[in-house]
Every structure is written in C-alpha cells, then in structure tokens.
C-alpha cells in the first residue's frame, strides 16, 4: 500500500514509527488537517473519522458477506469470490463533468494516497461491524473530474460479468448492481472509496478492488467492485430499491425510528457480541451528516 506520494503529502502526514503505533489518534488530527485544506467550508466538521469501538476481527469481516453476485448465503462470497479478477481493473468517471476519465485502478490509487479509517457498518438486516478500511475520500476524486452545474447526483455501477460473478446468472437481483448518492452526500468527507482492509488489499468477497463506504447509511449502499462512477442530473436507480421499493429507499439512512416494513430497526447485533445494542441515528454519525437532511422527512425519504 503506497503510504508516500511525492509532493502530495504534507509533512504532518508522514508517519514516524512511534506515531504509527498510535496512528488512530494521530489520524484523527491529520484527518481534520486534511479536511481543512481540501474543504475549508467543512473545516468546522468536528467528527473524527475513526470510531474508538473495537474493530471486528478480519476473519468475520471476510466470511460474513452479502454479495449476491457470488450467492445469497453469507458464507458464499468467501468461497466463490476467488474467481473475480481484480487486475487489470478500470474505473470510469464520467457523466456531467468536464474531465471524464477512465482510470486504471492502480493509477487511481497512486493519485490518491490511501489513509486508514475505522468505520461502523450497519446492515439493513440489523447486524453491524466495525471495519478498518483503507482508501481515500470520494469528494476529491469527483472534484478532479470537474462536475458541471448539472451534476446533482452520483451513480455507481458494479462489474457485470456472470462468468466471474456466477450469482449474476440468477435473477435474485437485477444486474449490474447500481447505487447512488446525492451530490452533497458524495462530497461529504465521510464518503470513502475503499481499496484495502486492515492495511491489506481488499479481499474479493468484500468488494475488491474498489468499493464505497458510506457509514451513515445501510450497508447495501456501500456498493462493491465499482467499475463506473457517473455524475447525473436526475436521481439514479438503486438496485435494492428496484428489487423492493417498499422496503429499500434511495436514502436508506440508518434510522432506529424508521422501521423496515417487516422488522424493527431499533436494535442491531454487533458481530462478536451476544446481545443486541440500540441502533443510533445515522449509525452514530449524526453530528457529521444530520445537516445534509435538514428539513427532510426521513420517514418519507427512507
């Protein structure tokens, strides 16, 4: 994993060995500094990117996956995702922007020095994990493409290749898997493009080689194995909303007061714990993101 890129790294980001051992608290400070430089408007954002909660073990994160492209059992992706070829991998950024480009994934990673962020992930099925992702924020990547005034939403698309992803031969979901964010959600510092896990390259079953992490939304919005990011004018379709519109909305913000049609969202099981815990509004990121939804009825815009 490239920790250093000439010219792009501020002196304060170079991690001395001693600080590496305390990197979480160190990164909290660094993150704020980076946000300051890149997004002066958001410099007031007080939220740390890292949670202090205990991270879920690597074994669990890599053997309990909803990745229907490889089967609907949670143990299927670990068994079957090895057929996915993650190199070479191209990511196209296009749509309503002045500088569309198709990136080779390694070139994209080189241009965006990775950082580690420990995010919560809350699945709509009412279980959750704490995951140390490695990656880079989505905002600067989009900014580099120079979105036009027409760009109101960002649409994401997963690879569509039934030979590599045998689950795509079934009709359990419409393929390819698509997701979307509102422009301000995509530009929020929390929106994170992920390339690694626990400092290692992202395992296939977790959405290699590039996935999204939007921790304040239900996990299915953190789309995996991305091949295309398109800036669009109208709200884009999202797969789970197509599959079951009454249960999965475009926003799908984590909200204990807005139940799933069939089950409660008030509590969740943190993987590794025996008893359930209360679910937090916006998955505990309310301080950071609540402002995006001021004035919106979150029951209607579920």
């Amino acid at each position: 994993m490239a920790r250093f890129a000439p010219g792009d790294i501020r002196a304060s980001e170079i991690t001395p060995e001693a600080a590496y051992l305390n990197r979480r608290s160190f990164l909290r400070a660094v993150g704020l500094l980076a946000a300051n430089a890149a997004f002066p408007r958001l410099a007031a954002a007080k939220g740390a990117f890292d949670t202090t909660e205990a991270p879920t073990p690597f074994e669990d994160i890599t053997h309990y996956n909803n990745f229907y492209e490889f089967g609907t059992d949670k143990t299927d992706p670990a068994k079957r995702a090895q057929s996915l070829k993650t190199r070479p991998w191209a990511v196209t950024i296009d749509g309503e922007c002045k500088k569309p480009k198709t990136w080779d994934i390694d070139a994209l990673i080189k241009r965006n020095p990775p950082e580690e962020r420990i995010y919560r992930l809350r699945c709509v099925e009412a279980w959750s994990m704490v995951i140390p992702w490695t990656g880079f924020p989505l905002g600067p990547v989009l900014a580099k493409a120079e979105p036009t005034a027409k760009a109101k939403y960002v649409a994401f698309t997963t690879l569509h290749d039934p030979e590599q992803m045998p689950g795509q031969k079934t009709g359990v979901l419409p393929w390819p898997y698509v997701e979307g964010l509102r422009m301000d959600e995509a530009m929020h510092p929390l929106a994170f493009l992920v390339t690694g896990l626990y400092g290692k390259p992202l395992p296939n079953q977790d959405g290699a080689p590039l996935r999204l992490a939007v921790p304040w939304k239900y996990g299915f919005k953190s789309i995996k194995s991305i091949v295309r990011i398109t800036l669009v004018e109208k709200q884009p379709p999202t797969t789970w909303n197509i599959a079951n519109p009454g249960e999965y909305g475009f926003y799908s913000n984590v909200n204990p007061t807005v139940d799933h049609r069939r089950w409660s969202q008030a509590r969740e099981r943190r993987i590794g714990e025996l008893f359930k815990r209360p679910t937090l509004l916006f998955n505990g990121y309310a301080k950071e993101v609540a402002g995006l939804y001021k004035g919106m009825d979150l029951r209607v815009n579920y």
Binding site: Y64, Y68, K74, W127, V172, N244, W263, I271, L274, F275
Partner: protein
C-alpha cells in the same frame, strides 16, 4: 436420534462452528429443524399407507413432540437473545410484525397439540383428539409462512418447505376427496 440436531448445535457452539453470527445461526437451525420435524411427522401417514410399514406410526408421537422441542428452542433463543426478555417489546412486535405474529401463532397452536399428546389424554378425548390434532395443519402452514416472510430476497428455502408441505397436505386432500367420491349417493325416494 432426534436429539442429534441439538447435539450438533451444542458441539458446534463449543467448537466455534456457529459462524460469524451465532445467534442468527442457532435461530435458523432450530427453526429449520422444527419445520423438518413437521414434514417428517406429516410424512408418516402417507408412508405408512403406501408401504404398509407401521413402525413409523408408532414413532409419530415422538416425532411430533420434537417439532415442539425445536420450536421452543427457536422461540427461547429469540426471546432471550433478540428480545432479551423485554416482554413489552415482544408483544409489540407480535402485533406489528406479521412474520413474528404468524410464528408466535404457530407456536401457540403447538400447545394444545403437545398437551394432548399423552396416552391419558388420547383415551379421555376419544374423537376430540383427532379434531384437536387437526391443528397440526395450520400450525405447519404458519411455520412456513413465518419463514417465507422473514427472508430478505432469496425465498428458495422457504419455497422448498412450502412445496414439501403442499405435497404432504395434498396427499390428505386427495385421500379425503376419494373417500367422498366413493360414498354411495343417497337413494332417491321412489321417483
């Protein structure tokens, strides 16, 4: 023999074989075995009638009681580890969530079936025993519906149970219709 599924669960629990989400695994496993025993119990009559081998009929009561056994384990897991004995929340869920309502209804139907399973009851109830035990049909159906309604998208396992149940119940429907069709028509009065 019927305790094997429970023993396997306990063994798996002690050897970290319950997977990443053990509570979910135990709930699914105990629920599945309740449905399995429903199917096995309901398969006894067709089996005995087609093979003439009455050994199964003598075991049927025990097989039926194991439905209650696994359904109770399933319910207790849910009550203790999901609801954490919050009874208010539990009853609210029974009211508001259709899949929990039908699951609980199926469990409730198992109560009279279980209570009337012993020899004393069979002797005392006579024809009423059969009538009460008719409730096994709605109980089994509710069990499958409960499962179908809790699955997120891939309903294939629930549909499989539904298919098997449809066959087992269909057998009885056909048998019933055949006896009705064979019944002599009432004689007309002299025309």
């Amino acid at each position: 023999m019927c305790l094997v599924p429970l023993l396997r669960l306990v063994w798996a629990g002690l050897h970290a074989g319950l997977g990443v989400n053990p509570v979910e695994f135990v709930e699914h496993n105990t629920g599945a075995w309740a449905l399995n025993f429903f199917c096995i119990t309901l398969a006894v009559r067709p089996l005995v009638q087609t093979t003439g081998w009455s050994w199964w009929m003598r075991r049927r009561r025990m097989l039926g009681l194991f439905v209650t056994f696994y359904a109770t384990l399933h319910f207790l897991t849910y009550l203790l580890l999901d609801m954490e004995l919050r009874m208010g929340e539990f009853f609210r869920d029974v009211n508001r969530r259709p899949y929990i309502f039908v699951g609980f209804a199926a469990l409730v139907l198992l109560v009279p079936l279980t209570v009337t399973s012993n020899d004393w009851m069979i002797r005392r109830l006579k024809v009423w025993w059969g009538r009460i035990h008719w409730l096994v049909y709605p109980a089994a159906i509710l069990g499958v519906v409960h499962f179908y309604w809790l699955l997120k998208k891939d309903k294939s396992e629930a549909l499989l149970y539904g298919g098997v149940l449809a066959l087992l119940l269909g057998y009885r429907v056909i048998a019933y219709l055949r006896t009705r069709l064979r019944a002599p028509l009432p004689l007309d009065a002299d025309a």
